[in-house]
């Protein structure tokens, strides 16, 4: 988030920063302050509220279902990154660099990205059904796997994960493809002269030059998967049981479903902080290792 830099002495700078300050205030700070407001009060009715200090924060950390959802979401994000980043890079490497197939490949790869979140959920909810869905039916009947995502926790988890991979690997692939395209031809020529294998060329020429775009891809995919809501909500509704109740689903149940705005506020502030910290850690680790 852009904030006015205190080191700036020139007063005119304030004037230039003002529009950003105002828009950030309206879009981020003021809504956030409302949440902060809720998080330190117990609200009985619009006129009747009590200041409770950090009670809701302790409560949020202590509640077992919060902890479970946190671990679950972290695990999900980790799996998403572990699958989507290597897969996306592999797709990018395999995509043609020249000729008529470039545009065909680009369109095919970009297709899943063009579908709205809730439509993706709806598609997969039907696609994965073992009775009428093509995917679910194939797995259950042709491969003979006992598969039903509405009853089995593991099946539900895998369904959500595969759906996310299908939906978002293309983003990683496109970013990586752009990164690969920017590598000058002499690097590949030098690798040929030096007798580098395809793997060595990838490892020592392509991968180092993907660092920048992969940093972005990792951050985007982490934030997005850590805050995943719509797709599991549409496909499994967080079930069966709590198997796919990720943090944001839990949070919305708490805030909207049970109208527990105090705990929900405290919880979402912690959530927000965790996302920030993890992004910072990723970013620092990735940029440091490149120096």
């Amino acid at each position: 988030m852009t904030r006015p830099d205190p080191r700036r002495r020139a007063n005119r700078a304030w004037l230039l920063v003002l529009p950003v300050v105002v828009s950030v205030a309206f879009t981020a700070v003021i809504p956030l302050m409302t949440v902060v407001n809720f998080s330190v009060q117990d609200v009985f009715s619009p006129t009747d509220r009590v200041f409770v200090g950090l009670d809701w924060f302790y409560e949020a950390v202590r509640r077992p279902e919060n902890r479970e959802a946190f671990v679950r979401t972290l695990l999900f994000s980790a799996q998403v990154l572990l699958v989507e980043i290597p897969l996306g890079v592999a797709i990018a490497v395999a995509m043609p660099r020249r000729g008529v197939w470039v545009s065909v490949a680009l369109v095919l790869v970009a297709l899943p990205l063009l579908i709205p979140w809730n439509v993706v959920g709806t598609i997969w909810q039907i696609f994965a059904r073992p009775d009428i869905g093509l995917g679910g039916w194939t797995v259950a009947n042709l491969l003979g796997v006992d598969y039903n995502y509405t009853l089995d926790s593991t099946d539900a988890w895998i369904t959500i994960l595969v759906m996310d991979v299908w939906h978002w690997t293309p983003l990683v692939a496109l970013l990586a493809y752009a990164g690969l395209r920017s590598i000058p031809q002499p690097y590949f020529q030098a690798a040929q002269i030096d007798g580098a294998s395809a793997w060595a060329t990838f490892r020592h020429i392509q991968l180092p030059r993907l660092r920048g775009v992969l940093t972005i891809a990792i951050l985007l995919r982490f934030m997005d998967s850590f805050m995943i809501y719509t797709e599991p909500f549409v496909v499994t509704g967080g079930g069966p049981g709590n198997a796919t109740t990720f943090l944001s689903i839990l949070l919305s149940k708490m805030a909207v479903g049970q109208f527990d705005v105090g705990p929900a506020g405290a919880f979402s502030l912690i959530y927000f902080l965790v996302v920030q910290i993890l992004c910072y850690v990723f970013f620092t680790a990735l940029t440091r290792s490149g120096r």
């Binding site: 002499p186 030098a190 040929q192 002269i193 030096d194 580098a196 060595a200 020592h204 490149g290």
Partner: protein
Amino acid sequence: MADIRLEGVAHSYDGGRTWALRPTTWTWRSGRAYALLGPSGCGKTTLLNIISGLLTPTEGRVLFDGRDVTGVPTAGRDIAQVFQFPVLYEEMSVYDNLAFPLRNRRRPKQEIDRRVREVSRLLGLDPVLGRRSRRLDPGRQQIVCLGRGLVRHEVAAVLLDEPLTVVDPALKWTLRSKLKEIHRDTGHTLIYVTHDQTEALTFADEVVVVNEGAIVQAGEPAELFLSPAHEFVGHFIGSPGMNMLPAEIAGGVVRVAGADAGAALPDTAAQAALADGEKLPPGPVRIGVRPEFVELGAAPGVPARVSGVDRMGAYDLVHALVGEHPVVARTEAGTAYEPGAAVCLRFPPERAFLFRDQVRCGSLGPLTGKGAA
């Protein structure tokens, strides 16, 4: 090591509409140091890439010691090539960069270490051997690339594509002499691409001059200087380049501005093609003579007018006009010629040549009595 032969090799990047390299037949002999000299865009890099296999020629064959390698990819050719700008494995150390070509070829560990240290010592890379290569300045990076090109023992040739462009001038000199030294020690065939004549002439056993996608002349530096076979070689080598003066052959005598410049002697090659065996056919020619060999003085000679004098310190350049065609003569420093003075130019036999359609057809000989008007 091998003789590298190009047979009718030609290349077009656009399916035959224009030719970056015209059909060329040429043999690079094993163990020699060649300079490939030509202006920007004349096809030098194209020629190198065809030798190394980065490019498959549109036409013709490439032979290594008689073995046809036209379809063989780079990896199967044992060629080292250094590019114009540093191409490094940036996240690797300098040591690993140097070792990379050997590791890919699975050489034994001790051999790799020995070769890397040898090359690093030769090129003065010892102090930075452990550094990450991307942290070096571009000049040093290019030296690392040079090292990567020299680290392999068994290469058929080392191709250097304007390797010293990014290196600063003071270091250039040192590196070029290092390269010569390395060439003497290893006996590798070297092909050194440059558009700088001094670089080419000081480096090579043999200089190959390329223009517009064709080899126009090859020879030792002195040969190119003293006996150019093509107008382009005359212009491109020497500074200032060769004078070109329009003239006319009539009755076996070359006439310029109403005066006799000398007898027209056909080159032996041209002679064979001539029916009467003795004389060049009459008609327009151009006399090519280097400023170093133009003699100034009183009559007899080609009458001219001094138009200016450049005092270069070690020598003077006297500019003169024959009719309206400029001629430059290089004289000793402190010449007494002043602008406007009338002067006669003489072109010494064996140092002045006749060109038709840019190609040399003969030379200027001494005037015998019968030719004089």
